[in-house]
Amino acid sequence: MPAGCPPHSTTASLPQHGDRGFPFAAAAAAGQAPPRPRPAAAMQFMLLFSRQGKLRLQKWYVPLSDKEKKKITRELVQTVLARKPKMCSFLEWRDLKIVYKRYASLYFCCAIEDQDNELITLEIIHRYVELLDKYFGSVCELDIIFNFEKAYFILDEFLLGGEVQETSKKNVLKAIEQADLLQEPRHEYFNVPVY
């Protein structure tokens, strides 16, 4: 990209959706209170963080600004880490339900909507851990730190837009393996975990 063309030069043509019946924009135009970030998916987001509170992976299925994401992350990490080990895995937070589970040193934390099923969310978390485990071969936190993009690719094959897209473990892993085959051999170093 030429140096003289900063990425922000397109600001003038911001997308305008006021005239498309887009509810947020229409409401804002009518002078009503700005809408709160509304859920639009079964699962709102998934966070992985360590016992020390370091974020290891984040996947947002609702469009939020970076600022909002950071705020939510900070708040949730604090709340979840403050809970005692014997406590149940669910908590109510804002108008969402948080489902979390700890695997070794990692916390897997999902936000779901009010009517959603907590137990199936725990199963989703567990299924994801199983997938990571199969892919990396007894996964540990370091695998996810050093190959975080792989962790995302696996998640993307399992969930899409906050919904489960593939319930068969075998199919998910097959898809990932085949996609990996397409990857250039020169970039092998992305694959090999090096610590």
Binding site: P7, A41, L64, F153, L160
Partner: protein, 865 residues
Amino acid sequence: MALKMVKGSIDRMFDKNLQDLVRGIRNHKEDEAKYISQCIDEIKQELKQDNIAVKANAVCKLTYLQMLGYDISWAAFNIIEVMSASKFTFKRIGYLAASQSFHEGTDVIMLTTNQIRKDLSSPSQYDTGVALTGLSCFVTPDLARDLANDIMTLMSHTKPYIRKKAVLIMYKVFLKYPESLRPAFPRLKEKLEDPDPGVQSAAVNVICELARRNPKNYLSLAPLFFKLMTSSTNNWVLIKIIKLFGALTPLEPRLGKKLIEPLTNLIHSTSAMSLLYECVNTVIAVLISLSSGMPNHSASIQLCVQKLRILIEDSDQNLKYLGLLAMSKILKTHPKSVQSHKDLILQCLDDKDESIRLRALDLLYGMVSKKNLMEIVKKLMTHVDKAEGTTYRDELLTKIIDICSQSNYQYITNFEWYISILVELTRLEGTRHGHLIAAQMLDVAIRVKAIRKFAVSQMSALLDSAHLLASSTQRNGICEVLYAAAWICGEFSEHLQEPHHTLEAMLRPRVTTLPGHIQAVYVQNVVKLYASILQQKEQAREAEGAQAVTQLMVDRLPQFVQSADLEVQERASCILQLVKHIQKLQAKDVPVAEEVSALFAGELNPVAPKAQKKVPVPEGLDLDAWINEPLSDSESEDERPRAVFHEEEQRRPKHRPSEADEEELARRREARKQEQANNPFYIKSSPSPQKRYQDTPGVEHIPVVQIDLSVPLKVPGLPMSDQYVKLEEERRHRQKLEKDKRRKKRKEKEKKGKRRHSSLPTESDEDIAPAQQVDIVTEEMPENALPSDEDDKDPNDPYRALDIDLDKPLADSEKLPIQKHRNTETSKSPEKDVPMVEKKSKKPKKKKKKKKKKKKKKKKKKKKK
């Protein structure tokens, strides 16, 4: 060119890859920020290079940094570059970065439209897959509109891998571009019967999500889903379908009747807890919507409650929690079936997990009856004492108040007991809910007239105690109750035993440490007290006493005049002037009490919180019209001179309990006194024995030394509410005996007469008569208030736009926009697909082209209109 390539790859050897970056960050724990800013500088250099592999590597590192909380929005354009790389390796990284960092406000997002379209139609299913995944994260209304048709086509792709992704992402498209729902729906419906189970489950997911928001449009799909439900063995799909039925049944009760059987079968047969939980929840929802007309409806509820009991008894905390949560849903409609598990729920109150205790508390709300309220609250009070964290204690406090005040104090049979509970709660220092307790005190004292005397005596004790004053540092702390105490003592001062004593308590110097709004209430109510004392003294013809009180006021009020709080200062100086004026009049032996009391004539009635909003605009009143015509000549009515404070025609004489009331009260008071006297645990309230000696004639000559203790001997709010529990038991026992007698008589009569089916003598709530006949004053509402409660609807619900009739045939105008590169007028030279520009040198051009296209599209739109 070749040389450049070689140079590029040599450069790359020295670049950090992602692992190097991660390792570097881990090795620079002390100066992480510095290290990262250095890395970002390097990344910026890398992004300037032509080699796409270098760029991809840089973008990959940026994605990692984004997770750590660094802003990478400046690299949005580079991300798009990497997305448009032809090699899957880079494309994958580009899309990942985009899906992590793009959002609706990202301005360059519109540049991606063509790239995404190209990837969607790529021969490689993984290119398409990666594009769909990325799009699901950052789809905007523009992208949704432009790509809806492409994605719809993909729903019929030959590969199930693409079909299921396309189906799932359609949901996001619908949300952003609701117009696409009707054209795409028939195909989506087809997918419910797709040969591939993954695609089928994706379609179920999407339709269930849609239907949950706007169920009525999807009723016609019910038979199809019913078939799916009875045939599917996939628990993930089953859960979705069952949830969907939960949303549909309120609209179609017949569906509910049909559902109960398969659902109960599932409840019996399944071993998956998640499915069981979903079934139970849906059965509950179904039964709630079918309030009547179900023959074996109580059997199903019983089954649910049984299963939930198993969950609650499980050692797994998660199941326990969810069991309690589901119970609370049953509670709303079938309180009786839950109430039988009271033991279990009370047991959960002792659980070591706070979230479980809170759930159990929620349930208690619905479990109380007139019969067990006192017992439950007593248990909660012991928990309050034991609770370690303030959050949990505060939660308990609010729950106690919620439980007691629910449905207009329906379950309270003895308000004296309730007031004592509230007084006991004031011992909680450091609570944030002082104002809650205060509000309850005020509400009860105002609305339950019979309790005022008792309330006033308790409140004066509170005012007298020192411990509340001490905690005044905290806003909203427990000192808030003094607000209520002062107001109650002032407003209902006629019930005070020793008004003079209370007056002194309210004028103590320590009061000035209270928050301003409380002091203001103190100042105002001191005058009310003063007025009633004056009246008493004047009636008793104790001129000196009256003057002494005035002197006390004149002495103490200046401390409030010096207050930093404006409200306090203003009221105090105003009142000080008033009192000084009275002092002058008193010196001339003018009776003033009448006029001073007239200041506070009339009764303050409770007003409903929404009353103001509900006042209808009277007919003929134009709110926009001038109130005053700009300066007219007409003279205002001649004003009559009035008495200083006292209006001659008293509009509303101060309410006094009527004669009959008085008698009734006296009788009840007598009865209560007797009860109290018989109870050794009852600690007699004021007048204290000391004072009584003083009052008794004949013993006046005995010198009694008033001990002035800085710490009151009597801790106010000592656990006295317990006594009521016992009293209540006795009373109920008596009542029951009486009732039994009556019943026997009736039975005998019935035996003599016709044989009727006599119900078993169960003691229901209705049998318990309240201790005092209380009439709870309802809150005032304006006349002909509008009953509508429309204020609660959320106008910003994005799902409202998806409330679309799906059964209407599709009109031509509704077809999804199909991408055309030229407008019809200008398409004389039909260009084929614009070759996608890949090389960087053409990038800026590409941008321009797209902008043009955008403009044209807008023009087109305008023309349509």
